[in-house]
Symmetry: C2
Subunit: 153 residues, 2 copies
């Protein structure tokens, strides 16, 4: 196993990053909906058009999963990440549609060494998922646990 690039110490409160360019595929939207969230507005254009979403749109949970894919590729997979205790909040602000191209902007809100476990710390992020027009489609706040550099984790 190679040494990860990013440890707890690398996430400075106030720092901001932009990354990602993920096209949303219609087939993937429908496949996720069929498997996990088969509400008509996530499966079918006509039903979507009659819904608050105004057209076929991804399940909100798939939008969260798209964000996870983007942050994994950008830094989690090359980090000393140890998992996450949960999610503070998610706001689904705008529909995510086939043909959209998604990117991420994140801000480090807080970095706090664990009191009980000196080998790790909690980093709280605000993640924004944006479409190709720069609209924020999803805002999510959550903490991720990272090992501290040189603490033997």
């Amino acid at each position: 196993m190679t040494t990860p690039k990013y440890y707890f110490e690398d996430f400075k409160p106030g720092s901001i990053a932009r990354y990602g360019a993920m096209p949303v595929e219609r087939a993937e939207v429908i496949a996720f909906a069929a498997q996990y969230d088969p509400q008509p507005m996530h499966l079918d254009e006509a039903a979507g058009a009659q819904s608050l979403l105004g057209g076929l749109a991804a399940s909100g949970w798939q939008s969260c999963a798209f964000l996870m894919r983007l942050i994994a590729a950008e830094f989690i997979l090359d980090s000393a990440g140890m998992g996450a205790p949960g999610v503070d909040s998610v706001r689904w602000l705008l529909p995510v549609r086939p043909g959209d191209v998604l990117s991420v902007r994140h801000e480090v809100l807080e970095a706090r060494a664990s009191q009980s476990k000196p080998d790790r710390g909690f980093v709280k992020f605000k993640f924004e998922l944006l479409n190709q027009r720069g609209d924020v489609v999803l805002e999510q706040i959550n903490s991720i646990i990272f090992a501290r550099r040189g603490r033997g984790a």
Copy 2:
């Protein structure tokens, strides 16, 4: 389109429901991880064993998706549901593993008619996802929008 069974008025604060019996398949856990959250502990037993999860376990986002699947089947698909603005909180309390059988317990925390849109209301739920031992593996609080009965939505 048939008339839905459940409207805003059918969700009474304090009411509790139990339902579902969904087996977690190893192939589905790995397929989700490969697509959305390819951290080693979600893909591979050995990597999982070395992680905080103590063995191969589903992505937390897949656990949320499993909960969505269960609530859709139980009542959302037969409701006048109009979508959800987001999620107040998610806590991933215990690993979800292949072989687990998941069920749901929910409590209606609050039901509030919309001030601005008289055809709908917001129902706030606490959802607990349980495994076959009765352990709560995930707790989620979020509101869902439902049409009010007979208001022409």
